[in-house]
């Protein structure tokens, strides 16, 4: 029975691991820390898995556990020193895919997003993942109105960064 549960869990996580990688990319700035956070999220997901009753999609459920781990439970590992050379694929913007202005804009925005606080990052992340405001509010424990207001403020801030 236990083996079955393990197999089911690892398979589901393997198929949905992108979600965890994205959270790790946003909340860490080097490979060691990325792996460290990935591991902690996996442990938390596994510990909570018996309580997952399939009422929601596995992926929906993962967002909450992954973000909670990144924002609240995870302690930065002291051994991991930020490395300059590490640049996740997510933040790489290549000129041949975009025109120059767009490329420049994206670069600036990714830098801005990475400098946001943990909570703002969570908001932006859920927004980028195409979650609606009801779900964003529910995940963070705030009202939908406030989630909207906050998101608009972040948008304005990004605009000022791009058009000083």
């Amino acid at each position: 029975m236990h083996k079955e549960l393990e197999h089911k869990f690892v398979t589901e996580l393997e198929n949905n691991q992108n979600i965890v990688h994205k959270v790790c990319t946003l909340y860490t700035n080097n490979r060691d820390a990325h792996n460290d956070l990935f591991q902690e999220i996996t442990i938390q997901l596994w510990k909570a898995y018996p309580k997952f009753r399939g009422e929601s999609k596995f992926s929906t459920w993962m967002y909450r556990v992954a973000l909670n781990t990144a924002i609240t439970l995870y302690r930065k590992n002291k051994r991991s020193i930020p490395t300059q050379d590490y640049e996740s694929v997510i933040f790489k913007v290549q000129a041949d895919e975009y025109d120059e202005t767009e490329e420049q804009q994206l670069r600036l925005m990714y830098t801005a997003v990475r400098q946001l606080g943990d909570i703002d990052k969570a908001l932006v992340f859920l927004y980028l993942e195409d979650k609606d405001y009801a779900e964003i509010a529910e995940t963070l424990g705030i009202t939908e109105v406030n989630a909207r207001v906050k998101m608009n403020r972040i948008k304005t801030r990004l605009k000022t960064i791009l058009n000083p």
Partner: protein, 216 residues
């Protein structure tokens, strides 16, 4: 000009398949690794905090302290205080256990944070209580020395060594040194404790304040 965030969203979603991929075995191995979440640290440190002061009684010198209180005529008072102290400690442990079990990674971010902070503040109150008890005990000893008319008998060994000093002066010196030791000891323990916890919960508190401000 299109919405900047929409541009970002498009780019973000286009990169969906460029993330690293871990194999089944790599993920499977992670299931058996130890967690290093702050919840776990809170549990470990709290158990230590609950246990350590009581382990001190296992030291012979601490056990002998009862004789010392007896000589000062404080025995009954200290026994009553000890009983009260244990009752309060048990209450704190019960509260801690109850709140700790409520912490769930499945709550929303705000609930999770506030439950952790609540659990933590139970331990904080316990520490404040323990430190006050330590200070009170030192205070009692100071009062005991003050009320003791026969300091020479109580501290026979000390008097022999310090024959040049008058009993009155000895009493004053003893009272002052006890009072100062008590304050320094309490301040030191408190300082270590609050530094340790300040560090552990700094990130959590900041994020909690950020979240609360969203709802203002």
């Amino acid at each position: 000009m299109i919405d900047e965030l929409e541009l970002l969203k498009k780019d973000w979603q286009k990169k969906e398949n460029r993330h690293p991929k871990l194999s089944y075995d790599e993920i499977y191995k992670m299931l058996w690794k130890k967690s290093s979440s702050i919840v776990k640290w809170i549990l470990i440190i709290s158990i230590l905090e609950f246990a350590l002061p009581h382990l001190l009684y296992l030291l012979p010198s601490a056990r002998n302290s009862f004789k010392f209180y007896e000589q000062l005529g404080l025995k009954n008072l200290v026994i009553i205080l000890t009983i009260i102290q244990y009752a309060v400690v048990l209450y704190f442990i019960f509260q801690f256990y109850r709140k700790f079990r409520e912490i769930s990674v499945l709550d929303n971010a705000k609930e999770l944070m506030s439950k952790i902070i609540e659990t933590r503040s139970t331990v904080k109150n316990y520490i404040i209580f323990s430190l006050s008890m330590i200070l009170l005990l030192f205070l009692l000893v100071v009062v005991g020395i003050y009320l003791n008319d026969d300091i020479g008998t109580t501290y026979a060994a000390l008097v022999e060594k310090t024959q040049k000093i008058s009993p009155e002066k000895l009493k004053k010196v003893l009272m002052w040194s006890m009072a100062i030791t008590g304050i320094v000891f309490t301040a030191l323990l408190g300082g270590i404790y609050f530094l340790l916890y300040g560090r552990l919960l700094r990130k959590l508190k900041k994020n909690f304040v950020d979240l609360q401000q969203l709802d203002l």
